[in-house]
Symmetry: D2
Subunit: 248 residues, 4 copies
């Protein structure tokens, strides 16, 4: 077993390729994934942090051998969810059930992998009006909340509001409010199979959220929490044991 945490940051990378919005290149010169990866590297200097985008060669950069060597996958997508191949989604799903950590970011709530894992519509209310978001910790004992300010103040953000159509999470860690009055369960965890999943909503292609030190800390905490580096990567399976199979 490699003792380094192996983290892969995946971004569709379409906003960057299209230069849309036009300030994205100045804000995220290495792409959204680049900014996320830089934050992870600064908090987790011993981790191996790699990146990939939709256009990356060989299965969007999510081939079998890549996932087998990944402890935690971060997922950012927005306008190209439909372009992610179903085969790749099946593969990621299988690895999550087998124990790979998954962190789904912001507009990734509508990604194929997130809705497949959760079974609901994952719909929400939204408004892009540059509102202040406050991210409040409601479960301070959770490892993902360790050392995180409450609230995190994000000066300008897209509003994501309830009803967020997700199953009851295992843990509700963060709740956000927006200047317009809406609230959102912005940091939630789920377990599916042997895999740990963290959804964190702050982050958008319009605002420099991934440069925020507190947001970077949350993502680093999330990666540490979601990783199970020593785990055998296998989906829980059907068995047909004989009576007393467990007896010595």
């Amino acid at each position: 077993m490699n003792s380094k945490l192996r983290i892969r940051v995946w971004n569709e990378g379409v906003h960057e390729a299209n230069n849309e919005p036009s300030h994205i290149g100045g804000m995220y010169p290495d792409g959204i994934h680049g900014a996320i990866a830089a934050g992870l590297r600064s908090h987790l200097p011993d981790a191996e942090v790699t990146t990939a985008v939709l256009a990356t060669d060989h299965e969007h950069g999510l081939a079998e051998e890549v996932l087998a060597d990944t402890d935690v996958l971060l997922w950012w997508g927005h306008i190209a969810h439909a372009e992610v191949s179903d085969a790749v989604v099946e593969r990621v799903h299988r690895h999550v059930l087998g124990g790979m950590g998954l962190i789904v970011l912001h507009s990734g709530h509508f990604s194929k992998i997130f809705t497949k894992l959760l079974g609901t519509s994952c719909s929400l209310a939204w408004r892009n009006d540059g509102e202040r978001e406050l991210v409040w910790t409601v479960k301070p004992s959770h490892p993902i909340a360790e050392g995180v300010d409450s609230p995190i103040v994000i000066p300008e953000q897209e509003m994501y509001g309830e009803l967020f159509d997700i199953p009851d999470p295992d843990d509700l860690i963060f709740i956000s409010s927006f200047a317009g009055g809406e609230v959102f369960r912005s940091g939630v965890t789920f377990t599916r199979g042997k895999g740990r999943i963290f959804y964190f909503s702050p982050g958008d292609q319009e605002y420099p959220v991934y440069h925020h030190p507190q947001v970077q800390r949350v993502l680093a905490n999330g990666a540490k929490w979601a990783a199970q580096p020593g785990l055998d990567r296998s989906i829980p399976g059907v068995s047909n044991p004989a009576r007393e199979w467990f007896a010595e």
Copy 2:
């Protein structure tokens, strides 16, 4: 078994007795308990709704025979928590574990019965600044959310904010935001023993919150949900069964 739902609204009644704030008499001429009871009666016309206050004869109006005939108890307290006798708290606790429903309101978060049932400090942040509260539904399938607007708009309210030091609730139904930006888990359920508990934070001695039709609806839904009228009122107990005691 009496087929009518038997609901008892308990209020310390000290703000009313002291005429503090001075507008409380005009706002709640029958006391906070009277307003709550009126709302319950209008939504649940078949229920028997009674009231009591701290000064009520015989054990604050919470004697053994009263609790034995109560399906759901609502609890409002604020400045007189310490005056509730420990014996009464023990008795209410025993009835809740035995299956009596309990609805704890607003500043009742610091009541002896609530902190005893939850085991935490139940502390929170607060600010009395007449801020608008928005109560958002996050679990629309829960019986307590049935027919409730999302958000409920309460024009002026005391702010209650996180961190609300409670155990993870069984169900999180409502989250509030306040004009100042704070958020609060304002509608949560717990199970303790065989009893169902609902905490709902809107409501204060300064503001006419209990006259709000949507708040009245929530409390009526809560009473229906918490009641188990046919249940044998007994605390889960220790047993020392023989092997195969369940065999025919």
Copy 3:
């Protein structure tokens, strides 16, 4: 709104059609669905209980207009999961997210609809050895446990054992043990969208489990709990509200 609870019992009906096992016709002369429906009718005399099987005309008996008139759907399937059309599964999924209750029975753990709603493999351990199953109540305050013996003693059953690969349920109501020593979370609830889901494992084509009075009671309790007859049948959707849309 029709005031009667409208319950539909769906069974693939293939074991019965194939007379496999050969004693199924004697044990369940009206099919597994017939026995389930009879139990529901006896406990819920005011409900409208209908049945359908895979071979029923028009979309396996699960056409749009049928589901629109169904408050709770019970689902029994085993060897023909793959024959249920994907279009029907999508439709049932949509109705569950919109608020239709769903009760999944026994080998239905591998049905397309259950795995799609839960997002996991739903695999388990099994052994068909006619073992005694004991079904223990662990959440007595839940409506589905009302009036149910603990344990329910089922003299002969197929063993279903952990690891049952499901997400953490909203509520864990029943845990079973088997003569061979395995345990199983045999009664669990989930919420997906606005819909309430109950999975109950006792029941098999080999054993007369659906004639057991206590099992019938559990299913009747489950149907009452899962039904939301007054609810607007719509999936939670995306919205893009203006600021202050909720203000009067």
Copy 4:
């Protein structure tokens, strides 16, 4: 911050002092606490593991300065719960809410500290008949389940059975079955305040359970999971913040 994990194993120590049962001295020559501590030391060689018993000088060995230097406290008690002073229980309660980990073992389910933290009766069914206990993992992704066999086979044990009157746990990790057919939620976690709590039922003064390598592994995993060594030890408190207190 001391970088070593500081673990304190507390045992009432009365069975050992009374030589009751008479084989306890041979089975646990260093006391139950000694066997637990030895297991922890072997799995966590870098930890500082200390022990104390009821008769230990100065506040049962649980004085303020001791708890302030303890990351995780393990608690074994049975026949002397009432002899633990209320002041010590208040102090432990305060430290748990402030972030000290707590692992409650076996008959500690009736300890003052456990019932105070949980708010329920914590009653259960029991039978001392030397039955085989099987401990099944139902949440394999939880850190406490890491590397643990499923089932753990304990040849002879006291039976603990449902109904275990506890609040719904945050996580249900282990379910046990017994030869007689009963089941028990034998490994459960709770959060209270900032503190993490793990209850694990295997273990008794009659049987050598704490020498079982798998049980030792569970306790070591539990200690690692419950510890928050860098956390400021303070109970969540009431605050009365001004508007916009969080703004830069």
